[in-house]
């Protein structure tokens, strides 16, 4: 009996230690952001203040960087969701000849390191005269997440029974209307999953805008926060922490609201068989 009890406690103990290890580095950011005299050591603020936040928020450079970040990530998310829905639909419904090969290619592209193609992408942007263009960056970001979007969306459409849209066609609905009014509403969880993943990935993406954009006025938050770190990072820990918290906020909020929808997106394993 005693043995049994220890056996039950051990997993809880291990998990608690892991949880603490995961949370301590982040707690430092939270505490430091409210601390008037923040240092690198985690400590509860002696002098609680909102000054760090005020100085970050009131800077027009920071406001601009956040707006550009929202524009890029929001635009990319919308484009990926719409294009993925369109592309995944025939892949799910229509008996294409080389569907399995196509899906394996998509899976392959999903995990291909984007880093590896950034040098040629930069060359492509020079060639197309798109360097330092927000729209060009938006298109490339969309392409980079499209395979992932198509893969997940196809898995979700596979789960929607075909009877409903067939019934809609008999009632005279067109394909697009069937997709928009019948299929899309049934896969809100899938759309959420894709949106959240794409937005989080895009919002946190530093490398792509760092390479493709040059004008200081066009840089999104992910790049300006890096510059802030370089310029003031070792002097103004409190401000850096507050900036970090503000920058992390959108992804954490989105994740919090969407977490119930997300688990379904991870049944990726068997689906490779097409």
């Amino acid at each position: 009996m005693r043995n049994n009890k220890t056996e039950q406690i051990i997993p809880y103990a291990i998990l608690s230690i892991i949880a603490i290890l995961f949370i301590v580095p982040l707690l430092w950011v939270v505490f430091a952001s409210f601390d008037g005299n923040a240092t690198q050591v985690i400590k509860i603020p002696e002098k609680f203040t909102l000054d760090n936040y005020v100085s970050v928020i009131t800077s027009s450079t920071n406001q601009r960087a956040f707006m550009i970040g929202l524009l890029l990530s929001g635009g990319q998310t919308i484009l990926v969701v719409i294009l993925s829905l369109l592309a995944a639909y025939p892949l799910s419904r229509f008996p294409l000849k080389n569907k399995q090969k196509f899906m394996l290619t998509i899976l392959f592209m999903t995990s291909l390191p984007i880093t590896a193609i950034m040098v040629p992408v930069y060359q492509l942007f020079l060639f197309l005269n798109l360097q330092d263009s927000l729209f060009g960056t938006l298109l490339f970001l969309t392409a980079s997440q499209l395979p992932f979007g198509i893969w997940i969306t196809k898995n979700f459409i596979d789960g929607v029974p075909t009877d409903l849209e067939e019934a809609a066609w008999i009632d005279g609905a067109s394909l697009l209307v069937g997709l928009r009014k019948v299929v899309a509403p049934l896969m809100i969880p899938g759309i959420f999953t894709v949106s959240i993943f794409v937005f989080i990935g895009s919002w946190g993406n530093f490398f792509v805008p760092y390479i493709l954009l040059q004008s200081p006025g066009k840089l999104p938050a992910s790049v300006t926060i890096y510059q802030f770190f370089g310029q003031y990072g070792y002097a103004a820990y409190g401000q850096l922490a507050a900036y970090s918290i503000l920058y992390m906020m959108p992804t954490f909020i989105l994740y919090y609201f969407a977490q119930n929808h997300m688990s379904k997106g991870f049944t990726m394993g068997g689906a490779a068989k097409g």
Binding site: A87, A143, T267
Partner: protein, 303 residues
């Protein structure tokens, strides 16, 4: 009566198929964007890796094919060799071993646990995944700093402070990457474990299989598809890690953490040798392609 029904069914089916044929056009916008911005750069990698393309100097005007010169230079370049080894160490320690095993351990330990406890632990691990790479870098730079939290903590036990980022740069970036990425493995293994029916494990228990035997003989074989998929995603994801290392150590000290992406960035955008930079990207790409094809093949033959 029944033949009539079958005929109607067949007609509806044909009707639906001709309807669905039109959906082929739905693929077009995605295909165009992928061709220009994804497949295009991949093909360009293969092409430009054999040129002397440069951002400055004479080679910026006239691009010439130089055959395998970039590759000959690369294989003679000691920085490339050390960068290659650094990449493999980072990949194996942080991705294949670190994230995969920690993710699996978390998923196994969290099975059948109290629901709010599961939620709490899962939440802390997910926090790492949700945190943008650049913030992970700042956080760990502060955490590991000479005057940071970790040194304060070991100070309680009488240890002298350590300059973690200078003394153990690789360990530092490995730990940060495990912290950042383990959630994905955890979620994938959780969902795979949830799909194993309880009856399978119950039956094995009745047959007298112990915990270890059940893990090796039942659980792992049943989730092997997930393991392979996870390996592909982690390997290729880790291979491309740039931001975390670039912002934590900049590839240093003395190139100790200069993985191939960092090396590529320096050659292409700091030294302006785009041709050489592309040759390095080609190496990353080819490693990625080989590993990915290998896993996909394994996944198919194992079925």
């Amino acid at each position: 009566m029944s033949t009539e029904n079958a005929l109607t069914n067949k007609r509806i089916k044909n009707n639906n198929n001709s309807m669905l044929r039109k959906t082929f056009f739905f693929l077009l916008p995605s295909l165009v964007i992928l061709l220009i911005f994804f497949i295009g750069p991949i093909l360009m990698t293969f092409l430009f890796a054999f040129t002397n393309m440069s951002l400055t100097g004479a080679a910026a005007q006239n691009i010439e094919f130089v055959g395998f010169r970039n590759f000959v230079n690369m294989f003679q370049d000691p920085s490339f060799k050390s960068s290659f080894i650094t990449t493999m160490v980072f990949l194996i320690l942080s991705g294949i071993i670190g994230q995969q095993i920690l993710g699996f351990l978390l998923a196994v330990l969290m099975q059948n646990k109290n629901k709010s406890f599961r939620k709490f632990v899962g939440g802390t691990v997910m926090a790492g995944w949700v945190t943008p790479e650049i913030i992970v870098a700042f956080t760990f730079v502060s955490f590991l700093h000479d005057g940071g939290t970790l040194n304060q903590f070991i100070g309680w036990f009488g240890f002298e402070p350590v300059s973690w980022l200078f003394t153990f740069p690789m360990v530092s970036v490995v730990v940060a990457n495990i912290w950042k990425g383990s959630a994905l493995s955890m979620l994938m293994f959780q969902s795979a474990l949830d799909n194993i029916p309880d009856s399978v494990n119950e039956a094995a228990k009745i047959d007298g299989a112990n915990r270890f035997q059940r893990m090796m003989r039942i659980t792992i074989p049943m989730i092997k598809n997930t393991i392979f998929t996870n390996l592909v995603i982690i390997t290729l994801g880790t291979l491309g890690v740039f931001t975390l290392i670039y912002t934590m150590t900049g590839g240093g000290p003395a190139k100790a953490t200069s993985t191939l992406p960092i090396f590529m960035y320096e050659q292409a955008f700091v030294n302006y040798q785009l041709g050489y930079g592309t040759a390095i990207s080609l190496v990353i790409l080819v490693i990625g392609i080989v590993i990915s094809l290998l896993y996909i093949k394994l996944l198919k033959t194992e079925d």
